[in-house]
């Protein structure tokens, strides 16, 4: 069971990865965000029994993580953490859909298993694409890009603050946990009742802090808009990156590449 400490450390790793200087990191955050969205839409637009047609899409995370020098081991670990959700989502498919769709030798595979496999593939594609986006751009830049692309500023400001204060909040929570565990012996003093008042305490402290932060912001002229001094200009490379990938997604979506490839191989063999 990972504790708060180590999971925060993991967020730190994501930050470190985002500080690298690779060709992928230099691409404009807005372009990366839009490209990722297009990728996600492409992935979810397939029918529920598609498996082979999804495979060429793996080129996207593979190429990006190679160019962006994002370690595969790190991505795999992150995928494993989220895997239980995907496993649960598709768990009952093989039970409900027992209609045989595929014959391999003497073995018949039901539609349920195929759609289960499809769900798992999509899960791997979407989650890794999102991770690569954050690891190659940084959380702040993603928030900024969201804002620039028309997300209401209340939300982008919220996200920004969430990220900044999650460390302070967990620190505070951890100190409370430590103080409790130092004065609780055995199972005494660890019940739900204590947790309840600790959570209440944490909420009150958070509200106090929020008030102090708001004051500090007002003192420096905050008027509802967070301005960051970043200069973003779209270059030809950025547009090329976005257009190139979107065209690739359209190509993959409209023609079933594995099938064509398979056909070619069969032809050559014959």
């Amino acid at each position: 069971m990972p504790n708060i400490d180590s999971s925060l450390f993991e967020i730190g790793t994501l930050d470190q990865l985002a500080e690298q200087d690779t060709p992928l990191h230099c691409i404009d955050p807005r372009v990366k965000l839009v490209t990722t969205l297009c990728f996600l839409i492409t992935v979810v637009s397939y029918g529920s029994h598609e498996v082979a047609a999804l495979l060429p899409l793996f080129l996207y995370p593979l190429i990006l993580s190679a160019v962006g020098e994002i370690p595969g081991a790190y991505l795999r670990r992150k995928l494993l953490i989220a895997l239980p959700f995907a496993l649960l989502v598709g768990m009952f498919n093989p039970l409900f859909d027992t209609h045989a769709m595929l014959q391999i030798g003497g073995l018949s595979i039901s539609g349920g298993w195929i759609s289960y496999a499809s769900i798992l593939l999509r899960f791997a594609l979407t989650v890794s694409a999102a991770l690569i986006l954050v690891a190659s751009t940084g959380f702040t830049a993603v928030c900024m890009a969201c804002g620039r692309l028309g997300m209401p500023r209340v939300f982008s400001t919220q996200l920004l603050f969430l990220y900044r204060y999650i460390f302070v909040l967990t620190d505070e929570g951890q100190r409370m946990m430590r103080a409790r565990s130092l004065r609780s012996f055995g199972s005494r003093g660890t019940g739900v009742k204590v947790y309840g008042s600790m959570l209440g305490q944490l909420l009150l402290r958070t509200m106090d802090r929020a008030q102090r932060i708001h004051r500090a912001m007002l003192c420096r002229g905050f008027d509802g808009d967070i301005r960051l001094n970043r200069r973003y200009a779209l270059r030809a490379v950025d547009l090329g990156f976005g257009l190139g990938w979107v065209m690739f997604f359209i190509l993959v979506r409209t023609c079933n590449l594995p099938q064509i490839l398979g056909g070619l191989v069969m032809e050559l063999a014959a």
């Binding site: 102090r212 912001m217 301005r227």
Partner: protein, 243 residues
């Protein structure tokens, strides 16, 4: 603006829960003066400071900063003139990088980008923290956070600086550095603190608060040599004077 004067007249404030925090507080601080506000816990120091740039609105009395009475209309102008450094730097540094945080005030003033860059550079240099500009604030040490918080206020080029407990939670060396920094500022300074030795080094005048009122307002040395007064206000003679 002619003079960086802070004038408080008959100030009274009551918290929503009924605690009377300030009663009839009056003083006048002149251009370039450096004044300490000392007193026991709960004597009303922090509440007083929050009035100086309009974070709290007084129930009675008024505040004047330079040529302006503090009202809703002059609030923006006053906040630009009075730079406030809060006790907990984590409250003050809320953006992803040190640079963003120091640039926050100037950007809100509507300055052009190059000017903002220059101001950030200048204020980080004045607290010797240029090397921190790209770092996220939550990874800084306590002393670094404090310096950056001061830089974030300096970037708005205020005339009056207000500090709430600037030396709390600092190691001796960081504290000494901060004192040197404070001595270097030519601004009008108001410092609320329990660190009476720091007051000896930085402030020529001291206001003693007790139970929400101004108990004494004299030269620092006179106050710290008055043992009776110190004891009444839960204070002690600073170490540098008792040797």
């Amino acid at each position: 603006m002619s003079h960086h004067i802070v004038e408080v007249q008959g100030l009274g404030y009551c918290y929503p829960d009924g605690t009377e925090a300030l009663q009839d507080v009056s003083f006048r601080i002149h251009h370039g003066e450096s004044v300490a506000v000392v007193g026991a816990n709960g004597a009303g120091k922090s509440t007083l400071l929050l009035h100086l740039n309009g974070c709290l609105v007084p129930f009675a009395g008024h505040v004047r900063i330079g040529d302006y009475p503090l009202t809703r209309e002059t609030l923006q102008q006053v906040r630009r003139t009075v730079g406030m450094v809060f006790q907990d730097p984590d409250d003050q540094l809320f953006l992803p990088t040190v640079y963003d945080d120091v640039a926050f005030g100037p950007l809100n003033l509507g300055l052009p980008q190059d000017e903002v860059d220059a101001r950030v550079q200048q204020s980080l240099a004045s607290v010797n923290c240029e090397h921190l500009r790209g770092r996220p604030p939550y990874k800084l040490s306590g002393g670094e956070k404090r310096s950056v918080a001061i830089a974030s206020v300096l970037a708005m080029s205020p005339d009056i600086l207000v500090f709430d407990e600037p030396t709390s939670n600092l190691d001796p060396r960081a504290r000494r550095k901060l004192i040197c920094l404070l001595q270097g500022f030519k601004h009008t300074k108001i410092i609320a603190t329990h660190d009476l030795d720091m007051v000896m080094d930085t402030c020529e005048r001291t206001i003693v608060m007790h139970q929400g009122k101004v108990f004494a307002d004299e030269a620092t040395l006179e106050i710290f040599n008055n043992d009776e007064l110190l004891q009444q206000c839960h204070l002690e003679r600073p170490l540098s004077l008792s040797r």
